[in-house]
């Protein structure tokens, strides 16, 4: 039987504020346990939460970036459950009326484009952390994280493979960093995903029963976990066992998912509007103000790159896959000139990307600055060097040669004498020497062997150490042999 996989993702993005969502405690990562947990965060009696304006700004930015509607009036609710790292016995979240409603994200798997719809995004507070080791049979509780502002972003069940789920997660990860609302640090838990996974026979209308994989904190684990879970569900059904709704955890060591607890009771959170918080009102003027401060969004930039620099949709998507990548490209084109937009794109996605990949580096850490790469491309464009020589200069730039300034490429070309020889007289002289010392090839060519011609071009290029313009060499050689 053919199966269809159905995946929806819930992502918790930690918002880049200075203080907590409902209190004036710092949210800086890595502090001593409980030194950033004040009376509100640890839920001492008589305290009142007061909403952080910046957290709301982050939610508005996100809503605008995904084309969602921003609720003019949204409501905070209490989600009730008991766990020691949740001091109030409830989490302040949003339930019936979330701040961001609808919208979506375009994703790309290979050449395939797809639109993933969002159900909602709502503001909520994070819980603290429980540590289960080393406390002689007890659990240790650190409440520094309690009250950290989160935006929970929920998709429709639109994804049909682990690849699509990962593509969506990557696109979202890039977007929240792009608009500056989340640092995207997955190791520190600033961006964590839960995947709702179910399978159904291809063609069936109803969804299968889903299981939720919790806390996927890397894209690789996400793919592994979903692939394992899908196979597990198919096996269960094939062997006649029904899937029961459950929360599961992924174990990276075994590559397996394992049920955590039955969800029967867990879903009874008894949400109700939090009487400590009044409705959040967001006026059109506030939205307009936030909108004015938003950077150019990736999809807008993509369209612009295609129009202004004649890039393909694929190239434009790659170059806007992260803010750092787009910044690099924009900076390089600004120097190299719009006419070189395509060449800059080719160098970044070709030579530079390969180099970065091999060294497991991000573009932001590139040893070759955008200005240096632009300087190199300008020298190709004005025929100072050939494409082949440019690769030598690129190598030198990568190794930090050329003085590290924007003109590093020029320094390298000058110092290593790599300037292309365009003086016809000089090239003719070299060709004459080549013809004189390679009589055998000349004879072979005259006898009709085309390959001999290429050998002669090769010899001439070698004699100029690659610095002659190959086209020019070709033309001159042809003229001389033909004459």
């Amino acid at each position: 039987m053919n199966w269809e996989v159905v995946i929806g993702l819930e992502t918790h993005a930690q918002l880049q504020t200075k203080s907590k969502i409902f209190s004036g405690s710092s949210i800086a990562f890595g502090a001593e346990p409980n030194v950033q947990a004040n009376a509100i965060d640890i839920a001492l009696p008589g305290v009142l939460p007061v909403l952080n304006r910046e957290a709301v700004v982050c939610a508005i930015k996100f809503g605008l970036a995904v084309g969602a509607s921003i609720a003019p009036r949204s409501v905070f609710a209490r989600k009730n459950y008991f766990y020691p790292d949740l001091p109030k016995g409830y989490q302040i979240s949003q339930f019936e009326i979330p701040v961001v409603q609808g919208g979506g994200l375009a994703i790309r798997v290979g050449e395939q484009e797809k639109f993933v719809h969002l159900t909602r995004a709502h503001l909520e507070e994070d819980a603290g952390k429980s540590l289960h080791e080393d406390f002689h049979g007890k659990s240790g509780i650190d409440l520094n994280r309690a009250g950290t502002p989160l935006l929970e972003i929920v998709t429709e069940p639109d994804m049909r493979s682990s690849l699509e789920a990962v593509a969506y997660a990557r696109a979202l990860h890039a977007l929240v960093q792009w608009i500056g609302i989340c640092d995207g640090n997955m190791q520190e838990g600033s961006f964590r995903c839960d995947a709702n996974v179910s399978v159904r026979p291809l063609g069936q209308k109803e969804f299968g029963t889903r299981r939720e994989i919790k806390n996927l904190n890397s894209f690789r684990f996400m793919q592994q976990a979903i692939d394992y879970e899908v196979q597990w569900q198919i096996n269960e059904i094939t062997e006649g066992r029904a899937i029961r709704q459950a929360t599961v955890l992924f174990d990276p060591d075994t590559g397996e998912t394992r049920a955590m607890r039955s969800k029967e009771d867990a879903h009874d959170y008894r949400y109700f509007p939090d009487p400590d918080l009044l409705p959040l009102e967001i006026g059109a003027d506030w939205i307009a103000e936030v909108n004015a401060g938003l950077p150019e969004l990736p999809q807008v930039m993509q369209a612009r790159f295609q129009a202004e620099y004649e890039l393909s949709a694929y190239d434009a998507a790659i170059l806007t896959a992260s803010r750092a990548m787009a910044d690099y490209y924009v900076a390089a084109v600004a120097i190299a000139g719009a006419a070189n937009g395509k060449a800059v794109a080719n160098w970044i996605m070709g030579e530079l990307a390969a180099r970065l990949n091999r060294n497991d580096m991000e573009v932001a850490a590139s040893p070759i600055s955008a200005a240096q790469l632009a300087g190199l491309i300008q020298r190709i464009a004005d025929h100072t060097i050939s494409n082949n020589i440019a690769k030598i200069v690129f190598e030198a730039l990568w190794n930090g040669e050329g003085g590290g300034q924007a003109n590093a490429a020029d320094e390298i070309i000058e110092k290593q004498g790599l300037k292309q020889i365009t003086d016809t007289g000089a090239i003719e002289k070299i060709i004459d020497e080549v013809l004189a010392t390679n009589q055998k090839s000349v004879d072979e060519f005259r006898a009709g062997k085309e390959k001999a011609f290429n050998a002669l071009v090769g010899q001439a290029m070698k004699a100029t150490r690659g610095k002659a313009n190959p086209q020019q060499v070709n033309d001159l050689l042809k003229k001389k042999l033909g004459g």
Partner: protein, 95 residues
């Protein structure tokens, strides 16, 4: 609507409140009394009236994003039953 003893037991479990059999019965009566009030409220014709999320018809005041709190861990932990290495200790919780 009226609650059964089973309903009360379930609500007590979700709320982590332990009730004796006698308490269960008295709680059931009290809760049913409250539900009676709600029935009265629900009988009022509210057609055309916009629902409210709060009894007070004002909107949320917002706080500027500033760190205003200092470390008062020592004060807070002085009244905690048990602490170690800056952590609050609780009976072990394992999934």
């Amino acid at each position: 609507m009226s609650l059964t003893t089973e309903d009360v037991s379930r609500i007590a479990l979700l709320s982590r409140i332990e009730l004796s059999a006698a308490e269960r019965e008295s709680t059931r009566e009290q809760l049913n009394g409250i539900l009676g009030f709600i029935e009265q409220l629900q009988a009022v014709d509210t057609a055309g009236i916009e629902p409210m999320a709060h009894a007070v018809d004002v909107v949320q005041r917002l706080r500027p994003d500033l760190v205003t709190e200092t470390d008062r861990r020592a004060d807070f932990q002085a009244v905690a039953p048990e602490t170690e290495a800056g952590l609050y200790l609780v009976p072990r919780v394992v999934e």
